[in-house]
Symmetry: C5
Subunit: 356 residues, 5 copies
Amino acid sequence: MTKGFKKRSRKAGLPPGSLVHIGNFSGEEIEISLIDYSQDSFIEKNDVQIQECLHFLSSPSISWIHVRGIHDTQTISTIGQHFGSHPLMLEDIVNTGQRAKLDDFKDQIFIVMRLLKYNFNTNEIVDEQVSMILGNSYVISFVESHNDIFDPIRKRLRNPESRLRHQGADYLFYTLIDCIVDNYFIVLEAFDNHLEKLEDEIVLSPSPRSLQEIQHIKRDVNTLRRSIWPLREVINNLRHVEKKFLSEVTRLHLGDVYDHAIQAIDMVDSFRDISASLLEIYSSNLTLKTNEIVKVLTMITTMFVPLTFIASIYGMNFSHMPEIDWVYGYPIVLLAMALTAGTMTYYFYRKKWLFN
Amino acid sequence: MTKGFKKRSRKAGLPPGSLVHIGNFSGEEIEISLIDYSQDSFIEKNDVQIQECLHFLSSPSISWIHVRGIHDTQTISTIGQHFGSHPLMLEDIVNTGQRAKLDDFKDQIFIVMRLLKYNFNTNEIVDEQVSMILGNSYVISFVESHNDIFDPIRKRLRNPESRLRHQGADYLFYTLIDCIVDNYFIVLEAFDNHLEKLEDEIVLSPSPRSLQEIQHIKRDVNTLRRSIWPLREVINNLRHVEKKFLSEVTRLHLGDVYDHAIQAIDMVDSFRDISASLLEIYSSNLTLKTNEIVKVLTMITTMFVPLTFIASIYGMNFSHMPEIDWVYGYPIVLLAMALTAGTMTYYFYRKKWLFN
Amino acid sequence: MTKGFKKRSRKAGLPPGSLVHIGNFSGEEIEISLIDYSQDSFIEKNDVQIQECLHFLSSPSISWIHVRGIHDTQTISTIGQHFGSHPLMLEDIVNTGQRAKLDDFKDQIFIVMRLLKYNFNTNEIVDEQVSMILGNSYVISFVESHNDIFDPIRKRLRNPESRLRHQGADYLFYTLIDCIVDNYFIVLEAFDNHLEKLEDEIVLSPSPRSLQEIQHIKRDVNTLRRSIWPLREVINNLRHVEKKFLSEVTRLHLGDVYDHAIQAIDMVDSFRDISASLLEIYSSNLTLKTNEIVKVLTMITTMFVPLTFIASIYGMNFSHMPEIDWVYGYPIVLLAMALTAGTMTYYFYRKKWLFN
Amino acid sequence: MTKGFKKRSRKAGLPPGSLVHIGNFSGEEIEISLIDYSQDSFIEKNDVQIQECLHFLSSPSISWIHVRGIHDTQTISTIGQHFGSHPLMLEDIVNTGQRAKLDDFKDQIFIVMRLLKYNFNTNEIVDEQVSMILGNSYVISFVESHNDIFDPIRKRLRNPESRLRHQGADYLFYTLIDCIVDNYFIVLEAFDNHLEKLEDEIVLSPSPRSLQEIQHIKRDVNTLRRSIWPLREVINNLRHVEKKFLSEVTRLHLGDVYDHAIQAIDMVDSFRDISASLLEIYSSNLTLKTNEIVKVLTMITTMFVPLTFIASIYGMNFSHMPEIDWVYGYPIVLLAMALTAGTMTYYFYRKKWLFN
Amino acid sequence: MTKGFKKRSRKAGLPPGSLVHIGNFSGEEIEISLIDYSQDSFIEKNDVQIQECLHFLSSPSISWIHVRGIHDTQTISTIGQHFGSHPLMLEDIVNTGQRAKLDDFKDQIFIVMRLLKYNFNTNEIVDEQVSMILGNSYVISFVESHNDIFDPIRKRLRNPESRLRHQGADYLFYTLIDCIVDNYFIVLEAFDNHLEKLEDEIVLSPSPRSLQEIQHIKRDVNTLRRSIWPLREVINNLRHVEKKFLSEVTRLHLGDVYDHAIQAIDMVDSFRDISASLLEIYSSNLTLKTNEIVKVLTMITTMFVPLTFIASIYGMNFSHMPEIDWVYGYPIVLLAMALTAGTMTYYFYRKKWLFN
C-alpha cells in the first residue's frame, strides 16, 4: 500500500453514511477530554464519557471536546447524534484517508486536515487525520492517536489572561488550525535536514542502499504534497464562509495561516525539485566512479600488453634469432621495455588521463 | 491498438446518430433486468423483454432497467424509441470508447462513466463503459459485459427499511454512480500493490522482463487517468443541473462522491509520478549491476597481467640471462610475483574498489 | 523544413490581403464541383466554371461548391469577389500553413481545419488545409489536393430520404466538419498501430535505425497536436456564434463533434506521453544489450587469464625448477588449471553472473 | 551575459525616467527619416533634424518619423519633449532589454517589440528592440541599428494607389507591426533549417563539437520564446484599446496579425520540444557508437585469449610432455586452435553479436 | 537547512502575534535613522532613539524611518505600539522567512520583499527580508543587516530639486520598491555570468567538483524563484489598493516596476531551464571523455593481442615445427606481425575509430 493511501476499498458497496473505520491506529482506547471556559470560568475534565459533555453545550461558555481515537465507530456515531452532525460528516471522520477539506453545513463548519509527525529514528513521516467541527459555542476535534500537539493550547487556555479566553469558539477553532500548520514546519525542517544529508551522501559516496532511500524520499514528498497542497484552498474557503461563523478578528488571523500554508507549499515544491534530481545525481555519480575505476584498471592492463608482447617475441624458439646470442641482448630488451613503459606513461600523463 | 482506445474509425463517413457498436464485449447475450419499487412495493424481474418494462414507466413507482450487453444495436434502438431518447445519446451508448461525460436533455439526464476491473491473474486493468439515463421516475443503465458490481445495491433495494426505498429515482441514480466510484478504489489499491511489487523487483533484481512490465504499467496509468480525470468535471456539472432533476439530499451526497473522485485522481497522479521514475530506476540499477560485474572481472584480469609479464620475461631464450642460472632464481621470481599481487590487492583495497 | 510548417516567409513585406499561395500541392488542376439541393430537387455538376455556380446562389435551394486545389490565386480571387468574401479570408485560404481557426464575418462564417491523411506505405502523416465558408444558403469548401473524404456525404445527399436533404446549409456545414473529425480517428488509429509496432521493436531488438524512426514519430505527434488541439476552441466558438447562423439541431450535433475532438486530443496526448519515453527505452535497452555482450566477453577473457599465467610460469627457463622434471608435473599443472577454471565458473555461477 | 539579456544593472539606483542607454548598437550615428503623406501628397526626407519634422505634425496629413539608433539619449529626450511623451516611455525606448509590451497613454499608444534577424554565416539570431508611438496623425518608430526591414512599406507608401495611402495613421501602425511579425517567419524558417541540419548531424555523426552547438540552439530557442511569446498578449490588448485610436478596418487586420503571432509561437514551441531532446539523442547515439567499438574490440581480444592459452601450454618446459614429441603434435594443436576460433565465431554469429 | 528557508519551527505552539525573531543576522546592533522632508525642509538623523521620531509623525512633512536589524524584538514591539501597527504585521517583520506579500490594513500598507545580494567571492546569493510600512505621511522600512542599497535614494532626497521632494510618501514608498527591484538585476547578471562560466567549464573540462557546483546553482535558482516570483502578484495588488494610498503618478510608475519584475522573472525562468540541463551535459560529457579513453586503451590492447598470439605459437616446444629451423623463419614472423598490425590500423582508421 503506497504510504498515505488508506484501504478505502472496504467501503465499496456499502450505503453512503455507513461508518466503517479506515485507518491504522486501531489498538488504542478512545479517550475524550473536555475543556469548558469563558472569560471567568475554566473547567477541564479528562477521560470523560460523552454524556457528561452534553449539558455544557447549552451553556453560553465555550466547550472544546477532544476525541483521541476514532476506530470505535459506535462512540463516534453517538457523538454525532448528540451534536446533530450529518452522517456524511461522521463518515469522513472515521474514514481516515481524506484529503484536507471544508464542509459548510447549516450550523456547523467541518474541517478535515492532515496531522504530520516526523519519526526521527526511522526518518519517516507519519500522517494522521484531524477532523474538527465548529458549532455555535463549541469545537469538537477528532484525532487518530494519543498525540499531544494541542498541549500548548491547553496551557494557554488555563491562563485567564490569555487572548484565547477573551474570544469566541471560532478563535479556538482558528488556534487549533494554526497549531497544526505551525507543526508542519517542524516536520518540513526535519525532512529538509534528512534530504540534505542524503544529498551529500549521494554526491560523496553513493551506495546501492541510496537507491532505496531515494524512493522513500520521493514517496514522502508525495505524502507531504497530498497533505499540504489542498490546505491552500481549504483555508481560503474558510475565510469566506458565512459571516455568522467567524468574527472579523479570526478572519484576519486566518489570512496569516494562509500565508504560512503557502510558505509550506513552497517548501514542499522545493523538496520535489530536489528529490527529482537525486536519482539523476546518484546514477551520474556512480557511473562516474565505476568508469574511473575501469579506466585505471584498463590503463594498467594496456601498459603491460606491449611489454608482454616484446617478451613473447624473445620467447620464440627459432634457431636463427641473432639477438638471442648477443651478450647485451637481455639488458637491451629490458631497456626497450622500460622505454616503452615510460613513453606510454608520458603519453597518458600529457593526455591528462592519469592523476585526474 | 493502445489499450482503452476503441476502433472508432469504423464510424467515419456515416451520418450522425448511426448506431454502430464499437467495443470488445460482443459475444455475450443482451440481458435486461427490471426492478420496480416504491416505499411499499417491490418487483424484480430478470431476463425480461423490453416491452414488458413499458407499463412500469407510467406508474408512480420507481423503475430501474438494467441492460447487460450493448452490441445488439437493434435492441438499443428499440429501447431508445420507447423512452424517447435522443439519437446522439443512443450513439454514445453503443460507441464504447467515450470518456466520462454528462448530457442534459430536456427531461433526461445522460451520464457516461468508465467501469474499471482489475484482473488479478494477469495484473491487467479492464475498462468498460456504463451509460445511465435518469428520467422522471426511472433509471436505465447499460453495461457492456455481464458484470455484477451493482449486486449490493439490489440487495439494499430488496430491504424495505433501506434509505434507497424512501428516496426518488435521483437517489438511485446517485447510488449507482457512488457504487462505480467506490469500485475504482478496489482497482486502484490492487494496482498500487502491483506497482509496489514491481518497484521492489526493479530495485532488487532488475531483469529484461521488467522493461515490458514498465511499459504495461505506464499504459495502465494512462487508462486510469483517462477514465477517472474527466469524472471531476462530470460530477461537478451533475451537481449543478436543473433543480427538477435532483433533490437537495442527492445533491449533498454528490458532494461526497466528488470528494472521492478527487481522492481517486490524487492516487492516479501519484501512480503517474511513481511509474515515470520506474524506467530511470531500472536503467540506473541495471547499469550499476553490470558495471559492478565488469569492474570485478577487469580487476581480476588486471591482477594477472603484471604477473604474466614477469613470467614471460623469464621465458625469453637469451643466452646471457644471469638470473636463469641462479639456484634461487625461480623462488625469488615467485616471491616477486606474490609481492606484486599483494601490493595491487592492498592498493585496490585501500581505494575501496574491493569489497564494495 | 520541419513537417507541418509552410514557407510563410515568402509573404514578408507584402501588403495584407495579398494572395500568395503557400503550400505543397501545386501541380494539380483546380477543379470545382457544385451540388445544389432542396428537399425535392438535386443537381450535381462536376468540373464547372465558377461563373456557372452564381445563379444557384440566389435560389432558395442549398448550394455546396467544392474547390479542389488552391494554388491558382487568380481563381480564388474571382471566387472571393463573387461571394463578397473579405480579402483576409481569401489570404487564409491560399496560405496553407494556418492552424484551425474560426472567423465570424457579418454574413459568413469562415472555418479553417487541418485534414489528415495517413500514408500506409511510408507510415507518414500528411496534412493539408480545408477552408469552409458558410453563407446564407450555401457552403463553399476549399481543399488542397484531389482527395475524396467527402464522397460519403455526396452519396447521402443524393438520397432524397436522408436527413441532410431536410436541413439547412448549416447542417451541411456541420456534416463536413463531422466528417473531417471522424477522419482523424482513421489516422490516429493507424498511427497508434505504427507506434505500438515501433515500441515492440525497440524493446525486443533495438537498432540504430530506430533512432531516426523515433525522431519521425516525435515530429508526427507534433503535427497531430498542432492540427487537433486548436479544434477544441474552434468548435466551442462555433457553438456560440450568432443565432442566425446555426439552427438548434445543428448546435446540438456540434456538441457531439466537440466530444469527439476532445477524444482525439486525449489520444494525441497519450501518443505524446508514449513517444516521449521511446528514446529512453531505446537507450536503456541498447545499453543493456551491449553491456550484456561486454560482460560475457570479459568473463571469457577473465577465465583464461589465470590459466595463461600458470602456463607462463612453467614456460620460464630457470635452470632450477624442480617441478619441471617431475614425471607427473605436466598432468598436475593441467589439473590445477582445470580446478582454477572450475572454481571461477562456480563463483560466477553462484553470483548469478552466468546464464542471466 | 546570456544572449538576449541586457546590462540593466547600470540603471540600479537612478531615479525613474532617467535616460540611460542599455544596448549593443552604440557605434552608429543616429539617423532620422520622415515620410509625410495623405491621399494626394507625399513628402519623403532622409537624414533630417528633428526640428524639421515638427510643423508636419500640426498638418492633417500623416507623418511617419523613423529613428535609427537610440544610444544618443539627448536626441531621444528632445524628441520626447517635442511630442509630449511620458518620461517612462522614453526610458523604455533607450533601455533595449524590454520584452514586448503595450502602454496606453492619454493620447498616444506605445508599443515595444523585438526585431529578429538571422545571421546566415554564424547561424545566430540577433534581436534588437523596436519601439513605436502612435499619435493622432503620426507614427514615430525607433530601431537600434541601421536595418531596413521597413523598405517594402516605404515603397508601398510612394505608390498613390496603395491602400496605405487611403487609411489613417493607425493603419500605418498596424502595417509596421505586421511587417515585423512577418519578418519573424524568415528567422524561424532559417532557424528550422539549421535545427534540422544539426539534428541529422547528431543522429549520423555526433562529435564533441555538437555539444556546444546544442547549447547554442537552446539559448536561441530561449531568445525566440522571450521575444515572441509576450506578443500574443500585446496584440490582443492592442485590439481592445480605446475606440478613438483604431479604426474598424485596422482592428480586423490586427486579428490577422494575432493569428500569425500564435502560429509563430506554435513554431517556437515545436523548436523547444525538438531542442530539448537533442542532448538526449546526442548522448544516446554517442554512447551507442563507442559501445559498438568497444564491443568489437573486446570480441577480437576474446577470440585470441583462448588461442594464446593453448599456445602457452605447449610453451611450458616440462620434461615429460608426451605431445611435444609427437610428429603431428604441432599441426594438431594448430587445428585445435582453428577449431576453437571457428566455434567462437559461430557462437558470436548465432548470438547476432557479429555484423550487427 | 535548505538555503532560503528559516527555522520557523521555533514558533510552533506559540500564540499568534508572538514576536520571535527568526533569522540569521542577529549579531549586529539595531540602528534607526530618520529623514524628514518636505519641499522646503530636510532633516536627517542617524542612530536615533525611536522616541525622537515620534513628533515628526504629526507634522505634515514626510518622514522616513529606516530600521537596520530586527533581532531585538523588544525594539520592534515598541515601534509597533508607537505606530499602531497590527501585531500580525510585527510578527511578519521579525519572522524573516516570509515570501513577498502585501497586506492592506485600515490606514497602513504593509509590504514584505526579499533583498538579494551577490557575494562575488563565494559566488553565493544571500537573501534577506525588507519590510516596509506606508502610512499617511510616513514610510517605515526594516532591513535585517547594515546594508546600504538605499544610499542613492538618500542622496536624491538631500537634493531639493529632486522629484522625490515634490511628491508624497507614496512616491518614496514606490522609490524604495523600485530600488530593490533594480538591485535584483545586479544579482541576476552576476549569477548569469557565473552560470555561463560554469557551463563552459562543464562542457570543456568536467570535474567531479562540478557536480557539487551544479547542486549549488540549482538551489540558488530556487532561492531566486522563491524571492522574485511572488513579486508579480504583490506589485499588481499594490497597483490596485484603495485610492487614498497612492497618487495617480505613483500608480503609473508602479506599472513600470511591474514590467521590470516580469523581466526579472523571465531571467530566472531562463536560468532554471539552463541549470536543469547542466547535470545532463555534465554526465554526458564525462561519459564521453571516459569512453574515449577506454576506447583508445582497448584499441591498444586489441592491437597487441594477435601479435602476442603469433609469438606464443613459436614459443611452443614441439620437436617437429619445421618453421623453427628455417633461416628466415624469424624475420618472416616479424614481417607477418608487422602486416597484422598494419592491417588492423588500416581497418580502425577506415572505420574512423582512430583519430576521431
